[in-house]
């Protein structure tokens, strides 16, 4: 990652819809060679931001600069620099894989002599050579996603925008897509991606921005973001039966925060090391039969939940429900 070369610089970017502010004065920069993650719950403003950056929406105010030049008023001029992979595969059902890639290349003005070898190369790179002559409508969801990513990079853009790249596809395909993203980045493609899978962002992204209600509330590398929870100690208890939150637990163990994860799981969190045996005894004394006590390593999810107040599981369910 080259932190000197900024590919995209966004300043005070705002988008209003009548009285609703979808994106509220956000600022960030994406550096050459990095994978920049944009993480937030539904309706946070992720897609609106991508739409403004790529030319499908007009900013109400603020600035968008690519490679140091201001394109706010005319994103069209910047579009040759951008590759875009939307959250749903939107290639042409009737065309086969090779034709789809050729058509997408032609939209960027690539002559036949360049686009055909490039399409063949991408089909091979994305393990789709055999499917190259099959109409897109007969592809599996995972294959559709891969071809859509290939279409996004056919013209070798300076920056690739990926909107929820692994949503709605099976585990094996999602792994392949993640491997491809890593591979693309290693070969020099700068990537801006939105995702609601926190673990995916944690694994793939060099830097992450958390966006909630149209505002960026934190940006940093994973280690920088993790600093907020690294001092935390977490114990997760699983009980034999359904339990309620004991009302006196926090007074008995000052400094501890206790939360109920589900009907038979509690989580105890503290900036101080946690006393395991006294906690076990406390629960047993209240007829709460502990089956398991597990030390939990703080994750990016903790940071996200703490900063946004949105449970990651809820965010995931929301998004997948929408896709269905």
């Amino acid at each position: 990652m080259n932190t000197d070369n900024i590919i995209v610089q966004v300043s005070h970017l705002t988008k209003n819809f009548n009285n609703f502010t979808a994106v509220d004065g956000i600022d960030f920069a994406v550096h050459e060679g990095e994978i920049f993650g944009f993480l937030g719950p539904n309706g946070a403003g992720k897609t609106t931001t991508i739409n403004m950056l790529t030319g499908l929406a007009r900013p109400t105010s603020g600035q968008i600069a690519y490679l140091g030049a201001d394109y706010t008023k005319d994103i069209k001029r910047a579009q040759p620099l951008l590759g875009i992979v939307p959250d749903e595969s939107n290639l042409y059902e009737e065309l086969d894989g090779f034709e789809n890639l050729g058509f997408c290349a032609a939209l960027y003005g690539m002559p036949k002599s360049e686009r055909e070898p490039r399409a063949r190369q991408l089909l091979e790179q994305f393990s789709l050579t055999d499917a190259g002559k099959r109409p897109f409508k007969f592809y599996s969801k995972g294959m559709k996603r891969k071809l859509t990513v290939a279409a996004g990079i056919i013209h070798q853009p300076k920056i690739l925008f990926l909107d929820e790249p692994t949503t709605g596809i099976d585990v094996a395909s999602a792994r392949q897509i993640r491997a491809l993203i890593r591979q693309l980045n290693e070969s020099g493609t700068t990537i801006f991606m939105t995702t609601h899978y926190i673990e995916e962002a944690e694994r793939l992204c060099h830097r992450i921005a958390f966006i909630v209600n149209g505002k960026i509330i934190r940006i940093g590398s994973v280690p920088e973001l993790m600093q907020h929870v690294q001092q935390d100690h977490i114990l997760q208890f699983t009980f034999a039966d359904a339990v309620q939150l004991p009302p006196d637990v926090e007074s008995q163990f000052p400094g501890c925060a206790v939360s109920r994860l589900n009907e038979n799981m509690l989580r105890v969190q503290s900036p101080q090391p946690l006393p395991l045996m006294p906690l076990m005894q406390f629960f047993e004394g209240r007829s709460m039969n502990v089956l398991e006590a597990r030390i939990i390593k703080p994750s990016l999810e903790e940071v996200f939940v703490r900063l946004t107040g949105v449970e990651a599981g809820e965010m995931k369910k929301d998004k997948e429900g929408q896709k269905k």
């Binding site: 819809f17 739409n51 790529t54 030319g55 499908l56 929406a57 007009r58 069209k76 001029r77 579009q79 040759p80 951008l82 875009i84 939307p86 749903e88 939107n90 290639l91 042409y92 059902e93 009737e94 065309l95 050729g102 058509f103 997408c104 032609a106 939209l107 960027y108 003005g109 690539m110 002559p111 279409a151």
Partner: protein
């Protein structure tokens, strides 16, 4: 050069994906043929064919072009493949021209189907072919841009079809296709003149039957004005509604 490559490939893709599909080819042949046959049977002589030829040609263009735009624009917009075009580095004017040129060509071809059928039935001596060609092209352009205006004003394909009929059926009766404007109730006559097809049909009537009642040198520019206005309004609607 780059715009040219994009333009040609958008047009080629639409031709292959939509216009050259067997159902559309058969529609383009059967629709005007059925109308010709209906009038031929009704009149019982071949004489009536020449009278109705301008109307059938204009109607073939109108229905052919407006129906296709609902698919090539509204359907692609609905399944979001149109976003791919909006995100390409091609100007909106070029993009919309590439998307509509296929429909214009389809309309022109549709118009000449009844003309070809007529060649086997009646003598077409005395037809001013150059004027016919000019009128067919301009009717195709205007009808296509009317279809574009409809396609960008709605969100669903069925809405486009319904909204199209809101324009198409009044035009069939009010534009002098089969009922001369002079025979319409007086209060409907002004309506005839707000539809571009009235001017196109009049040029065709003058060129085929020498029965036009307006001056072609006024009708041609008027059709051009309608075309430019419909295109500009459609473009404005896309910028306002789709690049929000």
């Amino acid at each position: 050069m780059k715009t040219g490559i994009a333009f040609w490939n958008i047009l080629r893709k639409d031709m292959r994906n939509y216009y050259l599909k067997p159902p559309n080819i058969s529609w383009g042949i059967i629709f005007p043929f059925a109308w010709m046959l209906m009038f031929f049977i009704k009149s019982g002589t071949a004489m009536g064919v020449r009278d109705i030829l301008p109307g059938v040609m204009a109607m073939s263009i109108l229905f052919g072009t407006t129906s296709m735009l609902a698919v090539t624009i509204t359907f692609e917009r609905r399944n979001r493949s149109f976003d791919r075009l909006l995100l390409a580095p091609i100007s909106l004017t070029h993009l919309m021209l590439a998307k509509t040129l296929g429909a214009i060509l389809f309309g022109i071809v549709n118009a000449f189907v009844p003309m070809l059928v007529s060649l086997f039935i009646i003598d077409l001596a005395g037809v001013n072919w150059l004027t016919v060609l000019g009128a067919v092209i301009l009717i195709a352009v205007t009808s296509t841009f009317l279809g574009l205006f409809i396609a960008v004003s709605v969100s669903e394909v069925f809405e486009a079809q319904t909204f199209s009929n809101f324009f198409r059926f009044p035009m069939v009766f009010l534009c002098g296709l089969f009922i001369p404007i002079s025979q319409l109730p007086i209060f409907l006559c002004p309506l005839s003149y707000i539809f571009p097809l009235t001017y196109g049909v009049d040029i065709l009537k003058a060129a085929i039957n020498q029965q036009g009642f307006m001056i072609a040198s006024i009708s041609f520019p008027l059709l051009l004005v309608f075309s430019v206005a419909l295109f500009m309004i459609s473009k404005h609607n896309i910028q306002r509604r789709w690049i929000y």
